[in-house]
């Protein structure tokens, strides 16, 4: 171990293409790794005396942006929401756009950890841990915006049904209150799911710990896990149940978020396609964020044998598929606007594609519908640079999708005399940048100190993890 730790992490793994043979199941872990190798590969990320240089650079950037977020929020709270660009008729601006964007990012994490688990997609094991971490930090980033946009942050607890001397309760028929319940449940359930999956890996870190601090901290959070099979039985059942609970939950969360719009009576918002359209968009954007984070992470931390090209191949296919679902939704909105024959609806959609915000609309369509089409080609799906650049475009496109929905509908409301062009202020822009700081701050800390890959789960997909494997191998050798 001492020998490996003198080398930078990034030089400890090599790229091996496991995407060639799709018929017979290719290995999920390349390079003929053993159980011990997997422990070593993941644990050394947290044990290495120095993180890669790029990590320090990224962390410094994240800290600065996080600081910027604090400054912007302090300015906002001490001055008032007038520092934002929102006004009549665009009363919902960046805050709601950023909120929906970040919540959407989180959805891919739950999809990978829960839905792919239920479908027994074993390739999820390599990427599920940090996709789940991404979910949690994205929900943190999302949660900031509804909290501060209420104006009087110090009474924000009024959104929860807490008994009070005024005998007032929240209004339960409002989708904004459904959001409170949906997001809170989503955050707590994701945290439980993430932590529970991590317990055996924290025990691995505990057992390898050399310093007292590490022994105590990892030991405490490992809960005294001893790999007992009588405990694994309950653990696996509970994990399966959590996956089964998280699956409808994740679909409900973005559906509820879309109800914020769909239950209103504004043309462009009041559509029944919104829940599935939002969920598909969330998964699309979230997977792009997973690719965006995974490409540099595996490079820097030497995880190329665990997060392989095959993983990216699968993810890029999902990105393309969900991107086309989103493209279908865009087209269907126009079709219904025309077919429905409602003049207000027709106007809204003409305005969307040709009006003052047409530039945003076409950025969205280009990034979300056209650019991911490169993934028809396997060369593009397995080229790290191509996929990384596409993932950046998809994230930009998905942010603009929310911008288009929110702003283009509001800026041309029912009364032409109040039409206006919404422009964000510098505070809006800095707060958005700051929310990325918050996300990356937590994410980079997670990468450095926590088990970034689900060690126990990856071991479980190795062939020698199954009893009788030895007998099979012997029989094959004979034949």
């Amino acid at each position: 171990m001492a020998k490996t730790l003198t080398k930078p992490l990034s030089q400890l793994s090599t790229e091996l293409d496991n995407t060639r043979d799709q018929i017979s199941q290719p290995p999920l872990v390349t390079g003929g790794k053993t159980f011990g190798n997997i422990t070593e590969i993941v644990a050394r990320v947290a044990e290495h005396p120095s993180a890669p240089k790029a990590w320090y650079v990224a962390f410094a950037g994240a800290v600065m942006l996080f600081g910027l977020l604090f400054a912007m929020l302090a300015y906002l709270i001490s001055t008032g929401v007038g520092v934002w660009g929102v006004n009549t008729p665009v009363a919902w601006g960046f805050a709601i756009v950023n909120f929906v964007f970040w919540i959407g990012i989180g959805h891919a994490g739950t999809l990978i950890s829960a839905i792919l688990y239920l479908f027994r997609q074993k390739w999820r094991t390599g990427i599920n841990r940090f996709a789940e971490a991404m979910t949690i930090f994205a929900v943190f980033a999302a949660g900031i915006f509804p909290l501060v946009h209420v104006g009087r942050v110090w009474v924000v607890y009024w959104i929860f049904p807490i008994p009070n001397q005024q005998q007032l309760w929240p209004q339960f028929r409002s989708p904004l209150l459904w959001d409170v319940f949906a997001i809170t449940t989503y955050l707590l359930t994701s945290l439980l799911f993430w932590y529970m999956g991590m317990v055996p890996d924290l025990a691995t870190f505990r057992d390898r710990a050399k310093t007292k601090v590490r022994k105590i901290v990892y030991g405490l959070f490992a809960l005294g896990w001893r790999g007992s099979n009588r405990q694994w039985i309950h653990y696996e059942k509970a994990y399966l149940l959590l996956a089964a609970l998280a699956t409808p939950l994740v679909l409900s969360v973005h559906s509820v978020v879309s109800f914020d719009f769909a239950t209103s009576q504004l043309p462009g918002w009041h559509t029944t396609i919104f829940p599935p359209y939002f969920v598909a968009g969330a998964i699309f954007g979230g997977f792009a964020m997973v690719v965006f984070l995974a490409v540099p992470a595996r490079e820097l931390f030497g995880l190329k044998n665990l997060i392989t090209l095959q993983h990216f191949d699968h993810m890029n296919k999902i990105i393309m598929a969900t991107g086309m679902i989103v493209g279908y939704a865009y087209a269907m909105e126009f079709f219904i606007a025309w077919y429905g024959g409602n003049p207000l609806e027709t106007f809204t959609f003409e305005n969307r594609a040709t009006g003052p915000y047409a530039w945003a609309y076409w950025i969205m369509v280009t990034c979300n519908v056209f650019i991911p089409q490169v993934f028809w080609f396997k060369k593009a799906r397995t080229n790290l640079w191509v996929m990384w650049i596409v993932s950046v475009f998809v994230n930009i496109g998905m942010w603009f999708e929310r911008f288009v929905i929110v702003v283009s509908s509001l800026s041309r409301d029912f009364l032409p005399s109040s039409w206006d062009y919404y422009t964000p202020t510098w505070v809006d822009l800095c707060t958005l940048a700051g929310s990325f700081g918050l996300f990356f701050f937590f994410f980079l800390l997670f990468c450095r100190y926590m088990p970034i890959v689900a060690i126990a789960e990856v071991k479980g997909v190795l062939p020698e993890a199954h009893p009788g494997h030895g007998a099979h191998a012997a029989a094959e050798a004979k034949a």
Binding site: W169, R173, S228, N229, A238, E464, G470
Partner: protein, 200 residues
Amino acid sequence: MSQTEAKTMTIEEPTEGRKLLGYLLEFDNVDDLTHGAEKVRDAGYSNWDCHTPFPVHGLDHAMGAKPSHVQWIVLACGFTGLLTGLFIQWWMNAVVHQGNVVTGYQYFISGKPFWSVPANIPVMFELTILFSAFASFFGMLGVNRLPQYNHFTMYSERFGQVTDDKFFISISSEDPKFDVGKTRDMLSGLKGTYLEVLED
């Protein structure tokens, strides 16, 4: 790692005058562990366990372990969540007075009824999931008696490898069938690599 090569087991001797807590037998692969577990099961032990770095398929059967019933805890809590969601929305939004007790606050919004279940479904659903998720996690911890920071296996120096790449069978001295000599003979007949004596 090859399973065909013959293995020799190192066997520790118990020390005089120290309290014996149990035996811990180390294996280096899944097959030997599973076959070993079958033998221990058939010998009729009850207070024993297998320890593995990841869940091993088929080991439950080899151990004769019963399936988990965590799902009933989750179901009960899920129902509680559902009813809680239904109740709080009725109590807080649908009624104002019940007898002399002020209970809720009615909002009159666009002429909508104060009590209509469709509008209350999202919150009921979310609370069902929330309660069930907590039940899965804490139910699992409860059934497994975690967190547990002391256990006789933790007296072993070698046991740390259970979270890396080694497999273990532990038999507690509190097992009714436990016998210092006989249990050791039984374990030394298995394909383990190291038999450790755990003492206080």
